[in-house]
Protein backbone atom coordinates (compact mmCIF):
# COMPACT_ATOMS: atom_id res chain seq x y z
CA UNK A 1 0.00 0.00 0.00
CA UNK A 2 1.38 3.45 -0.90
CA UNK A 3 2.57 5.61 1.99
CA UNK A 4 0.51 8.58 0.75
CA UNK A 5 -2.85 8.45 -0.99
CA UNK A 6 -2.10 11.20 -3.46
CA UNK A 7 -3.62 9.73 -6.64
CA UNK A 8 -6.54 7.62 -7.83
CA UNK A 9 -4.07 4.77 -8.32
CA UNK A 10 -3.04 4.98 -4.67
CA UNK A 11 -6.71 5.18 -3.66
CA UNK A 12 -7.39 1.99 -5.62
CA UNK A 13 -4.51 0.21 -3.88
CA UNK A 14 -5.91 1.30 -0.52
CA UNK A 15 -9.40 0.12 -1.43
CA UNK A 16 -8.09 -3.24 -2.65
CA UNK A 17 -6.30 -3.78 0.65
CA UNK A 18 -9.36 -2.97 2.71
CA UNK A 19 -11.74 -4.93 0.47
CA UNK A 20 -9.56 -8.03 0.72
CA UNK A 21 -9.75 -7.82 4.51
CA UNK A 22 -13.48 -7.08 4.60
CA UNK A 23 -14.53 -9.99 2.36
CA UNK A 24 -12.20 -12.57 3.96
CA UNK A 25 -14.31 -15.34 5.54
CA UNK A 26 -14.81 -15.12 9.28
CA UNK A 27 -13.10 -17.46 11.72
CA UNK A 28 -14.81 -19.45 14.47
CA UNK A 29 -17.13 -17.42 16.67
CA UNK A 30 -17.72 -14.97 13.82
CA UNK A 31 -14.39 -13.26 14.51
CA UNK A 32 -11.96 -11.87 11.96
CA UNK A 33 -9.24 -14.31 11.00
CA UNK A 34 -5.95 -13.75 12.81
CA UNK A 35 -3.90 -14.06 9.63
CA UNK A 36 -4.40 -12.78 6.10
CA UNK A 37 -4.25 -14.82 2.92
CA UNK A 38 -0.50 -14.21 2.71
CA UNK A 39 -0.02 -15.45 6.27
CA UNK A 40 0.68 -12.03 7.76
CA UNK A 41 -0.98 -11.25 11.11
CA UNK A 42 -4.16 -9.26 10.45
CA UNK A 43 -3.38 -7.08 13.46
CA UNK A 44 -0.27 -5.92 11.59
CA UNK A 45 -2.16 -5.46 8.31
CA UNK A 46 -4.94 -3.45 9.98
CA UNK A 47 -2.50 -1.25 11.89
CA UNK A 48 -0.86 -0.22 8.61
CA UNK A 49 -3.89 1.75 7.50
CA UNK A 50 -6.36 1.99 10.40
CA UNK A 51 -5.88 4.08 13.52
CA UNK A 52 -6.72 2.57 16.90
CA UNK A 53 -8.69 4.63 19.40
CA UNK A 54 -8.95 4.54 23.19
CA UNK A 55 -11.45 1.63 23.04
CA UNK A 56 -10.65 -0.38 19.93
CA UNK A 57 -7.49 -1.62 18.25
CA UNK A 58 -7.05 -1.25 14.50
CA UNK A 59 -7.81 -4.98 14.22
CA UNK A 60 -11.08 -4.59 16.11
CA UNK A 61 -12.17 -1.62 13.99
CA UNK A 62 -11.50 -3.54 10.79
CA UNK A 63 -13.29 -6.53 12.27
CA UNK A 64 -16.51 -4.51 12.57
CA UNK A 65 -16.58 -4.16 8.77
CA UNK A 66 -15.54 -7.78 8.21
CA UNK A 67 -18.40 -9.02 10.37
CA UNK A 68 -20.96 -6.61 8.89
CA UNK A 69 -20.06 -7.76 5.39
CA UNK A 70 -20.57 -11.42 6.16
CA UNK A 71 -23.71 -10.92 8.23
CA UNK A 72 -25.31 -8.89 5.44
CA UNK A 73 -24.31 -11.16 2.61
CA UNK A 74 -25.18 -14.40 4.44
CA UNK A 75 -28.56 -12.92 5.43
CA UNK A 76 -29.28 -12.26 1.78
CA UNK A 77 -28.16 -15.76 0.82
CA UNK A 78 -30.44 -17.30 3.46
CA UNK A 79 -33.38 -15.17 2.27
CA UNK A 80 -32.90 -16.23 -1.34
CA UNK A 81 -32.33 -19.96 -0.74
CA UNK A 82 -34.73 -21.34 1.90
CA UNK A 83 -35.27 -24.56 -0.05
CA UNK A 84 -31.58 -25.29 -0.42
CA UNK A 85 -31.07 -24.59 3.27
CA UNK A 86 -33.82 -27.02 4.21
CA UNK A 87 -32.48 -29.73 1.90
CA UNK A 88 -28.85 -29.50 2.99
CA UNK A 89 -29.37 -28.83 6.68
CA UNK A 90 -28.06 -25.87 8.65
CA UNK A 91 -24.35 -26.70 8.93
CA UNK A 92 -23.85 -27.88 5.39
CA UNK A 93 -25.77 -24.92 4.01
CA UNK A 94 -23.66 -22.47 6.03
CA UNK A 95 -20.45 -24.04 4.71
CA UNK A 96 -21.78 -23.88 1.14
CA UNK A 97 -22.73 -20.21 1.60
CA UNK A 98 -19.25 -19.20 2.76
CA UNK A 99 -17.50 -21.28 0.08
CA UNK A 100 -19.71 -19.86 -2.69
CA UNK A 101 -19.52 -16.25 -1.57
CA UNK A 102 -15.77 -16.46 -1.04
CA UNK A 103 -15.34 -17.77 -4.59
CA UNK A 104 -18.06 -15.59 -6.15
CA UNK A 105 -18.30 -12.31 -4.26
CA UNK A 106 -20.93 -9.96 -5.61
CA UNK A 107 -20.10 -8.51 -9.03
CA UNK A 108 -23.30 -6.52 -9.29
CA UNK A 109 -24.51 -3.27 -7.80
CA UNK A 110 -27.55 -5.13 -6.50
CA UNK A 111 -27.71 -8.04 -4.07
CA UNK A 112 -30.55 -9.39 -6.19
CA UNK A 113 -27.93 -11.12 -8.35
CA UNK A 114 -26.02 -12.71 -5.47
CA UNK A 115 -27.11 -16.29 -6.23
CA UNK A 116 -26.98 -16.07 -10.00
CA UNK A 117 -23.94 -18.39 -10.20
CA UNK A 118 -24.85 -20.74 -7.40
CA UNK A 119 -25.95 -23.65 -9.56
CA UNK A 120 -22.75 -23.35 -11.57
CA UNK A 121 -20.71 -23.36 -8.36
CA UNK A 122 -22.48 -26.43 -6.99
CA UNK A 123 -21.79 -28.26 -10.24
CA UNK A 124 -18.13 -27.20 -10.25
CA UNK A 125 -17.52 -27.97 -6.57
CA UNK A 126 -19.83 -30.87 -5.62
CA UNK A 127 -18.00 -31.55 -2.34
CA UNK A 128 -20.04 -28.87 -0.57
CA UNK A 129 -23.34 -30.58 -1.30
CA UNK A 130 -22.41 -34.28 -1.63
CA UNK A 131 -24.17 -36.69 -1.56
CA UNK A 132 -27.13 -34.51 -2.58
CA UNK A 133 -25.49 -32.51 -5.34
CA UNK A 134 -28.09 -33.32 -8.01
CA UNK A 135 -30.91 -32.21 -5.72
CA UNK A 136 -28.98 -29.11 -4.60
CA UNK A 137 -28.34 -28.06 -8.20
CA UNK A 138 -32.02 -28.33 -9.04
CA UNK A 139 -33.11 -26.35 -6.01
CA UNK A 140 -30.52 -23.66 -6.77
CA UNK A 141 -31.85 -23.38 -10.34
CA UNK A 142 -35.40 -23.24 -9.09
CA UNK A 143 -34.73 -20.57 -6.46
CA UNK A 144 -32.81 -18.42 -8.94
CA UNK A 145 -35.78 -18.75 -11.32
CA UNK A 146 -37.94 -17.27 -8.57
CA UNK A 147 -35.70 -14.20 -8.38
CA UNK A 148 -35.98 -13.81 -12.15
CA UNK A 149 -39.77 -14.20 -12.06
CA UNK A 150 -40.05 -11.61 -9.30
CA UNK A 151 -38.72 -8.57 -11.10
CA UNK A 152 -37.35 -9.34 -14.56
CA UNK A 153 -38.65 -7.06 -17.30
CA UNK A 154 -41.66 -8.00 -19.45
CA UNK A 155 -41.83 -7.55 -23.21
CA UNK A 156 -44.96 -6.65 -25.19
CA UNK A 157 -47.30 -9.63 -25.26
CA UNK A 158 -48.39 -11.41 -28.43
CA UNK A 159 -52.11 -12.15 -28.27
CA UNK A 160 -54.13 -14.93 -29.93
CA UNK A 161 -55.11 -12.67 -32.86
CA UNK A 162 -51.51 -11.92 -33.80
CA UNK A 163 -50.62 -15.57 -33.41
CA UNK A 164 -53.49 -16.52 -35.70
CA UNK A 165 -52.20 -14.27 -38.51
CA UNK A 166 -48.64 -15.54 -38.30
CA UNK A 167 -46.89 -17.84 -40.78
CA UNK A 168 -45.63 -20.78 -38.69
CA UNK A 169 -42.71 -21.53 -41.00
CA UNK A 170 -41.23 -18.05 -40.51
CA UNK A 171 -42.48 -16.79 -37.17
CA UNK A 172 -40.06 -16.86 -34.24
CA UNK A 173 -41.73 -16.11 -30.96
CA UNK A 174 -40.06 -15.07 -27.76
CA UNK A 175 -40.72 -16.25 -24.24
CA UNK A 176 -41.06 -13.59 -21.57
CA UNK A 177 -37.69 -13.03 -19.87
CA UNK A 178 -39.28 -13.59 -16.47
CA UNK A 179 -40.39 -17.14 -17.40
CA UNK A 180 -37.87 -19.90 -16.65
CA UNK A 181 -38.41 -23.44 -17.97
CA UNK A 182 -36.98 -26.21 -15.85
CA UNK A 183 -36.76 -29.93 -16.54
CA UNK A 184 -36.11 -31.45 -13.13
CA UNK A 185 -35.49 -34.84 -11.63
CA UNK A 186 -37.28 -34.04 -8.38
CA UNK A 187 -40.59 -32.28 -7.59
CA UNK A 188 -38.81 -29.14 -6.42
CA UNK A 189 -41.94 -27.00 -6.78
CA UNK A 190 -43.93 -28.88 -4.15
CA UNK A 191 -40.84 -29.14 -1.93
CA UNK A 192 -40.21 -25.38 -1.98
CA UNK A 193 -43.89 -24.71 -1.30
CA UNK A 194 -43.75 -27.04 1.72
CA UNK A 195 -40.60 -25.35 3.05
CA UNK A 196 -42.13 -21.88 2.65
CA UNK A 197 -45.30 -23.01 4.39
CA UNK A 198 -43.31 -24.44 7.30
CA UNK A 199 -41.19 -21.26 7.58
CA UNK A 200 -44.30 -19.08 7.56
CA UNK A 201 -45.80 -21.08 10.37
CA UNK A 202 -42.55 -20.82 12.26
CA UNK A 203 -42.47 -17.02 11.85
CA UNK A 204 -46.06 -16.69 12.99
CA UNK A 205 -45.22 -18.55 16.18
CA UNK A 206 -42.44 -16.11 17.02
CA UNK A 207 -43.87 -15.17 20.43
CA UNK A 208 -42.83 -18.61 21.70
CA UNK A 209 -39.27 -18.96 20.42
CA UNK A 210 -38.17 -21.94 22.50
CA UNK A 211 -41.18 -24.03 21.61
CA UNK A 212 -40.91 -23.00 17.98
CA UNK A 213 -37.28 -24.06 17.67
CA UNK A 214 -38.22 -27.44 19.04
CA UNK A 215 -41.15 -27.66 16.66
CA UNK A 216 -38.90 -26.73 13.74
CA UNK A 217 -36.63 -29.67 14.49
CA UNK A 218 -39.55 -32.06 14.58
CA UNK A 219 -41.22 -30.69 11.44
CA UNK A 220 -38.44 -31.25 8.97
CA UNK A 221 -39.80 -31.20 5.44
CA UNK A 222 -39.02 -34.56 3.80
CA UNK A 223 -36.58 -34.27 0.93
CA UNK A 224 -38.19 -34.93 -2.43
CA UNK A 225 -37.90 -38.36 -4.01
CA UNK A 226 -36.81 -38.71 -7.63
CA UNK A 227 -39.56 -37.86 -10.10
CA UNK A 228 -39.26 -36.33 -13.56
CA UNK A 229 -41.14 -33.03 -13.83
CA UNK A 230 -41.31 -30.09 -16.24
CA UNK A 231 -42.17 -26.75 -14.73
CA UNK A 232 -42.31 -23.06 -15.62
CA UNK A 233 -41.50 -20.52 -12.90
CA UNK A 234 -43.34 -17.33 -13.85
CA UNK A 235 -45.58 -14.54 -12.62
CA UNK A 236 -49.14 -13.46 -13.27
CA UNK A 237 -50.39 -10.08 -12.06
CA UNK A 238 -46.99 -9.76 -10.38
CA UNK A 239 -47.52 -12.83 -8.23
CA UNK A 240 -45.12 -15.73 -8.39
CA UNK A 241 -46.37 -19.08 -9.73
CA UNK A 242 -44.99 -22.51 -10.60
CA UNK A 243 -46.76 -24.23 -13.46
CA UNK A 244 -46.28 -27.92 -14.20
CA UNK A 245 -46.03 -28.67 -17.91
CA UNK A 246 -46.46 -31.81 -19.94
CA UNK A 247 -43.22 -32.94 -21.55
CA UNK A 248 -44.27 -32.12 -25.16
CA UNK A 249 -45.48 -28.67 -24.09
CA UNK A 250 -42.15 -28.09 -22.37
CA UNK A 251 -40.30 -29.08 -25.55
CA UNK A 252 -42.31 -26.60 -27.62
CA UNK A 253 -41.66 -23.76 -25.20
CA UNK A 254 -37.97 -24.61 -24.93
CA UNK A 255 -37.66 -24.59 -28.71
CA UNK A 256 -39.39 -21.19 -28.92
CA UNK A 257 -37.12 -19.85 -26.19
CA UNK A 258 -34.10 -21.10 -28.13
CA UNK A 259 -35.14 -19.25 -31.29
CA UNK A 260 -36.78 -21.99 -33.38
CA UNK A 261 -39.57 -21.06 -35.77
CA UNK A 262 -43.10 -21.78 -34.65
CA UNK A 263 -43.34 -24.72 -37.07
CA UNK A 264 -40.10 -26.32 -35.82
CA UNK A 265 -41.06 -25.70 -32.22
CA UNK A 266 -44.39 -27.46 -32.66
CA UNK A 267 -42.60 -30.33 -34.40
CA UNK A 268 -40.33 -30.61 -31.34
CA UNK A 269 -43.36 -31.76 -29.33
CA UNK A 270 -42.93 -35.21 -30.84
CA UNK A 271 -45.39 -37.90 -31.81
CA UNK A 272 -48.72 -38.50 -30.16
CA UNK A 273 -49.60 -34.86 -29.66
CA UNK A 274 -52.85 -33.72 -31.22
CA UNK A 275 -53.55 -30.39 -32.91
CA UNK A 276 -56.20 -29.71 -30.27
CA UNK A 277 -53.63 -30.16 -27.51
CA UNK A 278 -51.20 -27.76 -29.16
CA UNK A 279 -53.95 -25.20 -29.75
CA UNK A 280 -54.99 -25.46 -26.13
CA UNK A 281 -51.44 -24.97 -24.88
CA UNK A 282 -50.88 -21.91 -27.06
CA UNK A 283 -54.19 -20.42 -26.00
CA UNK A 284 -53.20 -20.85 -22.35
CA UNK A 285 -49.68 -19.46 -22.86
CA UNK A 286 -51.10 -16.46 -24.69
CA UNK A 287 -53.56 -15.90 -21.87
CA UNK A 288 -50.76 -16.08 -19.32
CA UNK A 289 -48.82 -13.53 -21.37
CA UNK A 290 -45.81 -15.80 -21.84
CA UNK A 291 -45.45 -15.29 -25.59
CA UNK A 292 -43.85 -12.11 -26.85
CA UNK A 293 -41.89 -10.73 -29.73
CA UNK A 294 -38.24 -11.71 -29.85
CA UNK A 295 -35.83 -8.98 -28.87
Amino acid sequence: MPARLDSTRALRAFQRRMKDAVVRPLAAGDRMQRRGRDGRPMAEVAAEFIKPNDRLTAFERLEIYNRMYWFRIIDCFYDDCPGLRAALGERKFARLAVAYLAKHPSRSFTLRNLCSRLEHFIRAEPRWTAPRTALAREIARFEWAQTVAFDEAARPVLGPAELGRAQPARLRLGLQPYVTLLALGHPIDTYVIAVKKRDTLRAEASNAPAATRHAARRHRVPRPRRERIWVAVHRVDNRLYYKRLEAPAFRILAALRDGQTLARAVAAAGRGVTAEQVQGWFALWAELGWLCRRK
Binding site: R4, L5, D6, S7, T8, R9, A10, L11, R12, F14, Q15, R16, M18, K19, V22, V23, E48, F49, I50, K51, N53, D54, R55, L56, A58, E60, R61, L62, I64, Y65, M68, Y69, R72, I73, P105, S106, R107, S108, F109, T110, L111, R112, A149, F150, D151, E152, A153, A154, Y178, R235, N238, R239
Partner: protein, 292 residues
Protein backbone atom coordinates in the same frame (compact mmCIF):
# COMPACT_ATOMS: atom_id res chain seq x y z
CA UNK B 1 -32.61 25.97 2.87
CA UNK B 2 -36.13 24.69 2.35
CA UNK B 3 -35.82 25.07 -1.39
CA UNK B 4 -32.49 25.27 -3.18
CA UNK B 5 -30.75 24.15 -6.32
CA UNK B 6 -29.74 20.90 -4.65
CA UNK B 7 -33.24 19.64 -3.91
CA UNK B 8 -34.81 20.85 -7.12
CA UNK B 9 -36.17 23.98 -5.37
CA UNK B 10 -38.77 21.94 -3.56
CA UNK B 11 -40.12 22.25 -0.03
CA UNK B 12 -41.09 18.68 0.80
CA UNK B 13 -41.21 18.76 4.60
CA UNK B 14 -41.09 15.48 6.50
CA UNK B 15 -41.10 12.08 4.82
CA UNK B 16 -40.46 8.44 5.55
CA UNK B 17 -38.87 5.55 3.72
CA UNK B 18 -41.09 3.36 1.54
CA UNK B 19 -40.63 -0.14 2.94
CA UNK B 20 -42.19 -3.49 2.00
CA UNK B 21 -44.00 -4.17 5.34
CA UNK B 22 -45.98 -0.94 4.83
CA UNK B 23 -47.02 -1.45 1.19
CA UNK B 24 -50.47 -2.84 1.96
CA UNK B 25 -51.25 -0.16 4.54
CA UNK B 26 -50.17 2.67 2.23
CA UNK B 27 -52.00 1.34 -0.82
CA UNK B 28 -55.19 0.58 1.07
CA UNK B 29 -55.35 3.37 3.66
CA UNK B 30 -53.65 6.11 1.60
CA UNK B 31 -52.29 7.95 4.65
CA UNK B 32 -51.25 11.60 4.32
CA UNK B 33 -47.46 11.67 4.03
CA UNK B 34 -45.26 14.55 2.88
CA UNK B 35 -43.16 12.31 0.67
CA UNK B 36 -41.60 8.89 0.42
CA UNK B 37 -37.95 8.10 -0.05
CA UNK B 38 -37.27 4.95 -2.05
CA UNK B 39 -34.07 2.94 -2.22
CA UNK B 40 -33.36 3.19 -5.94
CA UNK B 41 -31.75 -0.24 -6.19
CA UNK B 42 -34.98 -1.93 -5.04
CA UNK B 43 -36.77 -0.69 -8.16
CA UNK B 44 -34.17 -1.26 -10.86
CA UNK B 45 -35.09 -4.83 -11.76
CA UNK B 46 -37.06 -3.97 -14.86
CA UNK B 47 -40.53 -5.21 -13.94
CA UNK B 48 -42.72 -7.19 -11.57
CA UNK B 49 -44.23 -6.23 -8.26
CA UNK B 50 -41.65 -3.59 -7.22
CA UNK B 51 -42.44 -1.37 -10.21
CA UNK B 52 -46.17 -2.05 -9.96
CA UNK B 53 -46.17 -0.83 -6.35
CA UNK B 54 -43.97 2.12 -7.24
CA UNK B 55 -46.30 3.22 -10.02
CA UNK B 56 -49.27 3.08 -7.67
CA UNK B 57 -47.36 5.09 -5.07
CA UNK B 58 -46.36 7.65 -7.72
CA UNK B 59 -50.03 8.21 -8.54
CA UNK B 60 -50.63 9.46 -5.00
CA UNK B 61 -47.34 10.61 -3.48
CA UNK B 62 -44.16 12.55 -4.03
CA UNK B 63 -41.15 10.23 -4.23
CA UNK B 64 -37.44 10.95 -3.86
CA UNK B 65 -34.75 8.48 -4.84
CA UNK B 66 -31.97 7.51 -2.47
CA UNK B 67 -29.25 5.11 -3.59
CA UNK B 68 -26.90 2.79 -1.76
CA UNK B 69 -24.48 1.56 -4.40
CA UNK B 70 -23.19 4.33 -6.63
CA UNK B 71 -20.05 4.27 -4.49
CA UNK B 72 -19.02 7.74 -5.55
CA UNK B 73 -15.70 7.39 -3.74
CA UNK B 74 -14.67 4.09 -5.31
CA UNK B 75 -11.64 4.24 -7.54
CA UNK B 76 -13.63 2.33 -10.20
CA UNK B 77 -15.45 4.21 -12.92
CA UNK B 78 -19.24 4.37 -12.64
CA UNK B 79 -20.98 1.17 -13.75
CA UNK B 80 -22.68 2.00 -17.06
CA UNK B 81 -25.48 -0.53 -16.65
CA UNK B 82 -26.19 0.77 -13.18
CA UNK B 83 -26.39 4.34 -14.47
CA UNK B 84 -28.59 3.34 -17.39
CA UNK B 85 -31.09 1.67 -15.09
CA UNK B 86 -30.89 4.52 -12.59
CA UNK B 87 -31.66 7.07 -15.28
CA UNK B 88 -34.69 5.07 -16.40
CA UNK B 89 -35.92 5.11 -12.81
CA UNK B 90 -35.28 8.85 -12.51
CA UNK B 91 -37.50 9.37 -15.55
CA UNK B 92 -40.18 7.16 -14.02
CA UNK B 93 -40.24 8.79 -10.59
CA UNK B 94 -39.39 12.34 -11.71
CA UNK B 95 -37.47 12.64 -8.49
CA UNK B 96 -36.59 16.33 -7.95
CA UNK B 97 -33.22 15.31 -6.57
CA UNK B 98 -31.31 12.11 -6.03
CA UNK B 99 -28.95 11.13 -3.26
CA UNK B 100 -26.29 8.54 -2.54
CA UNK B 101 -23.45 8.20 -0.09
CA UNK B 102 -20.04 9.80 0.21
CA UNK B 103 -18.25 6.49 0.53
CA UNK B 104 -16.78 3.63 -1.40
CA UNK B 105 -17.88 -0.01 -1.48
CA UNK B 106 -16.58 -1.65 -4.64
CA UNK B 107 -13.20 -2.10 -6.25
CA UNK B 108 -12.22 -3.89 -9.47
CA UNK B 109 -15.90 -4.70 -9.99
CA UNK B 110 -16.33 -6.56 -6.69
CA UNK B 111 -19.06 -5.15 -4.46
CA UNK B 112 -19.04 -5.26 -0.65
CA UNK B 113 -22.56 -3.80 -0.41
CA UNK B 114 -21.34 -1.74 2.51
CA UNK B 115 -20.85 2.00 2.88
CA UNK B 116 -17.12 2.07 3.57
CA UNK B 117 -15.52 5.29 4.79
CA UNK B 118 -13.19 7.31 2.62
CA UNK B 119 -9.64 8.23 3.48
CA UNK B 120 -9.95 12.00 3.82
CA UNK B 121 -7.27 13.07 1.35
CA UNK B 122 -7.18 15.80 -1.25
CA UNK B 123 -6.65 13.28 -4.04
CA UNK B 124 -9.67 11.23 -2.90
CA UNK B 125 -11.78 14.41 -2.72
CA UNK B 126 -10.76 15.41 -6.24
CA UNK B 127 -11.47 11.94 -7.63
CA UNK B 128 -14.83 11.72 -5.87
CA UNK B 129 -15.92 15.19 -6.95
CA UNK B 130 -15.09 14.39 -10.57
CA UNK B 131 -17.13 11.18 -10.35
CA UNK B 132 -20.09 13.01 -8.81
CA UNK B 133 -20.06 15.55 -11.65
CA UNK B 134 -19.92 12.74 -14.19
CA UNK B 135 -22.86 10.90 -12.61
CA UNK B 136 -24.95 14.04 -12.16
CA UNK B 137 -24.36 15.17 -15.74
CA UNK B 138 -25.48 11.77 -17.03
CA UNK B 139 -28.54 11.55 -14.81
CA UNK B 140 -29.55 15.19 -15.36
CA UNK B 141 -30.91 15.60 -11.84
CA UNK B 142 -29.52 17.43 -8.79
CA UNK B 143 -27.38 15.17 -6.63
CA UNK B 144 -26.88 15.25 -2.86
CA UNK B 145 -24.19 13.20 -1.13
CA UNK B 146 -24.75 11.76 2.32
CA UNK B 147 -22.20 11.52 5.10
CA UNK B 148 -21.95 7.91 6.37
CA UNK B 149 -21.51 6.43 9.83
CA UNK B 150 -18.03 5.04 10.31
CA UNK B 151 -16.19 2.76 12.65
CA UNK B 152 -12.62 3.25 11.44
CA UNK B 153 -10.28 6.17 10.83
CA UNK B 154 -7.30 6.01 8.52
CA UNK B 155 -3.67 7.06 8.94
CA UNK B 156 -3.77 8.46 5.42
CA UNK B 157 -6.45 11.09 6.20
CA UNK B 158 -5.26 14.66 5.81
CA UNK B 159 -8.35 16.46 7.12
CA UNK B 160 -11.49 16.01 9.21
CA UNK B 161 -14.56 14.33 7.79
CA UNK B 162 -16.47 17.61 7.55
CA UNK B 163 -13.55 19.28 5.79
CA UNK B 164 -13.50 16.39 3.33
CA UNK B 165 -17.26 16.63 2.79
CA UNK B 166 -16.91 20.36 2.17
CA UNK B 167 -14.02 19.87 -0.24
CA UNK B 168 -15.97 17.28 -2.24
CA UNK B 169 -19.27 19.16 -2.50
CA UNK B 170 -17.58 22.47 -3.33
CA UNK B 171 -15.50 20.86 -6.09
CA UNK B 172 -18.47 18.90 -7.43
CA UNK B 173 -20.89 21.79 -6.89
CA UNK B 174 -23.42 19.34 -5.49
CA UNK B 175 -25.70 19.18 -2.48
CA UNK B 176 -25.45 17.51 0.91
CA UNK B 177 -27.83 14.97 2.36
CA UNK B 178 -26.98 15.65 5.98
CA UNK B 179 -27.47 12.52 8.08
CA UNK B 180 -27.58 13.85 11.61
CA UNK B 181 -27.63 10.40 13.19
CA UNK B 182 -24.53 9.42 11.22
CA UNK B 183 -22.71 12.50 12.49
CA UNK B 184 -23.63 11.57 16.04
CA UNK B 185 -22.60 7.91 15.63
CA UNK B 186 -19.25 8.83 14.07
CA UNK B 187 -18.61 11.54 16.67
CA UNK B 188 -18.92 8.97 19.44
CA UNK B 189 -16.83 6.41 17.56
CA UNK B 190 -14.05 8.85 16.75
CA UNK B 191 -14.23 11.34 19.59
CA UNK B 192 -15.06 14.60 17.84
CA UNK B 193 -17.65 17.24 18.68
CA UNK B 194 -20.69 16.76 16.40
CA UNK B 195 -21.51 20.46 16.68
CA UNK B 196 -18.11 21.32 15.20
CA UNK B 197 -19.10 19.10 12.25
CA UNK B 198 -22.45 20.85 11.82
CA UNK B 199 -20.87 24.28 12.10
CA UNK B 200 -18.10 23.42 9.65
CA UNK B 201 -20.04 22.48 6.52
CA UNK B 202 -21.50 24.71 3.78
CA UNK B 203 -25.06 25.02 5.08
CA UNK B 204 -26.44 26.44 1.87
CA UNK B 205 -25.69 23.12 0.14
CA UNK B 206 -27.86 21.01 2.44
CA UNK B 207 -30.75 19.77 0.33
CA UNK B 208 -32.08 17.10 2.67
CA UNK B 209 -31.56 15.62 6.13
CA UNK B 210 -31.77 12.10 7.52
CA UNK B 211 -32.64 11.14 11.05
CA UNK B 212 -32.56 7.59 12.44
CA UNK B 213 -31.98 5.41 15.46
CA UNK B 214 -28.77 3.63 16.34
CA UNK B 215 -27.55 0.94 18.74
CA UNK B 216 -25.04 1.40 21.52
CA UNK B 217 -22.52 -1.38 22.04
CA UNK B 218 -19.91 -1.52 24.76
CA UNK B 219 -17.15 0.08 22.72
CA UNK B 220 -18.88 1.76 19.79
CA UNK B 221 -22.18 2.88 18.30
CA UNK B 222 -23.66 1.10 15.29
CA UNK B 223 -25.95 2.76 12.76
CA UNK B 224 -28.74 0.17 12.81
CA UNK B 225 -31.90 2.11 11.80
CA UNK B 226 -33.94 -0.16 14.05
CA UNK B 227 -34.87 2.19 16.88
CA UNK B 228 -36.64 5.49 17.42
CA UNK B 229 -34.40 8.55 17.14
CA UNK B 230 -32.43 9.12 20.34
CA UNK B 231 -32.59 12.43 22.17
CA UNK B 232 -29.02 13.61 21.47
CA UNK B 233 -29.72 13.12 17.76
CA UNK B 234 -32.89 15.19 18.00
CA UNK B 235 -30.90 17.95 19.71
CA UNK B 236 -28.34 17.78 16.94
CA UNK B 237 -31.13 17.89 14.38
CA UNK B 238 -32.58 21.02 16.00
CA UNK B 239 -29.15 22.64 15.76
CA UNK B 240 -28.78 21.56 12.14
CA UNK B 241 -32.11 23.10 11.17
CA UNK B 242 -31.19 26.33 12.91
CA UNK B 243 -27.99 26.37 10.85
CA UNK B 244 -29.33 25.14 7.51
CA UNK B 245 -32.99 26.11 7.63
CA UNK B 246 -35.94 23.75 7.67
CA UNK B 247 -35.00 21.19 5.06
CA UNK B 248 -36.69 18.11 3.65
CA UNK B 249 -36.24 15.53 6.39
CA UNK B 250 -36.52 11.77 6.21
CA UNK B 251 -36.73 9.23 9.02
CA UNK B 252 -34.88 6.00 8.21
CA UNK B 253 -36.23 2.83 9.83
CA UNK B 254 -34.96 -0.24 8.01
CA UNK B 255 -34.84 -3.11 10.47
CA UNK B 256 -37.35 -4.44 13.00
CA UNK B 257 -39.80 -2.11 11.27
CA UNK B 258 -42.85 -1.31 13.39
CA UNK B 259 -46.29 -0.32 12.09
CA UNK B 260 -46.64 2.42 9.53
CA UNK B 261 -48.25 4.72 12.08
CA UNK B 262 -45.43 4.25 14.57
CA UNK B 263 -42.81 5.09 11.97
CA UNK B 264 -44.78 8.08 10.70
CA UNK B 265 -45.41 9.42 14.21
CA UNK B 266 -41.71 9.17 14.97
CA UNK B 267 -40.89 11.13 11.81
CA UNK B 268 -43.41 13.83 12.66
CA UNK B 269 -41.65 14.47 15.96
CA UNK B 270 -39.23 16.43 13.82
CA UNK B 271 -41.81 19.23 13.73
CA UNK B 272 -41.18 19.83 17.41
CA UNK B 273 -37.45 20.30 16.88
CA UNK B 274 -37.59 22.59 13.85
CA UNK B 275 -39.69 25.23 15.58
CA UNK B 276 -36.55 27.27 16.36
CA UNK B 277 -35.50 27.38 12.76
CA UNK B 278 -38.99 28.26 11.56
CA UNK B 279 -38.97 31.23 13.92
CA UNK B 280 -35.95 32.78 12.27
CA UNK B 281 -36.12 32.04 8.54
CA UNK B 282 -35.00 35.50 7.41
CA UNK B 283 -31.85 35.35 9.48
CA UNK B 284 -30.98 31.95 8.00
CA UNK B 285 -31.79 33.10 4.48
CA UNK B 286 -29.49 36.08 4.90
CA UNK B 287 -26.71 33.81 6.16
CA UNK B 288 -27.13 31.57 3.14
CA UNK B 289 -27.14 34.50 0.77
CA UNK B 290 -23.81 35.56 2.22
CA UNK B 291 -22.41 32.03 2.01
CA UNK B 292 -23.43 31.47 -1.60
Amino acid sequence: MPANAFNGRTDYGIGIGLRVPHYAHILEQKPVVGWFEIISENFMGGGGRPLEVLDRILEQYRVVQHGVSLYLGSADRPDREHLRRLKALVKRTRTPWLSDHLCWGSVDGTYTHDLLPMPYTRAAAKHTAAKIRQVRDYLEVPLCVENVSSYAEFHASEMTEWEFLTEVVEQADCGILLDVNNIYVSSKNHGFNPYDYLDGIPHHRVGQMHIAGHTKFEKYLLDTHDHPVLDPVWQLYAHATRRCGVTATLLEWDDRIPSFDEVHDEALKANHFIAGAKAAPKKIAAAHARAS
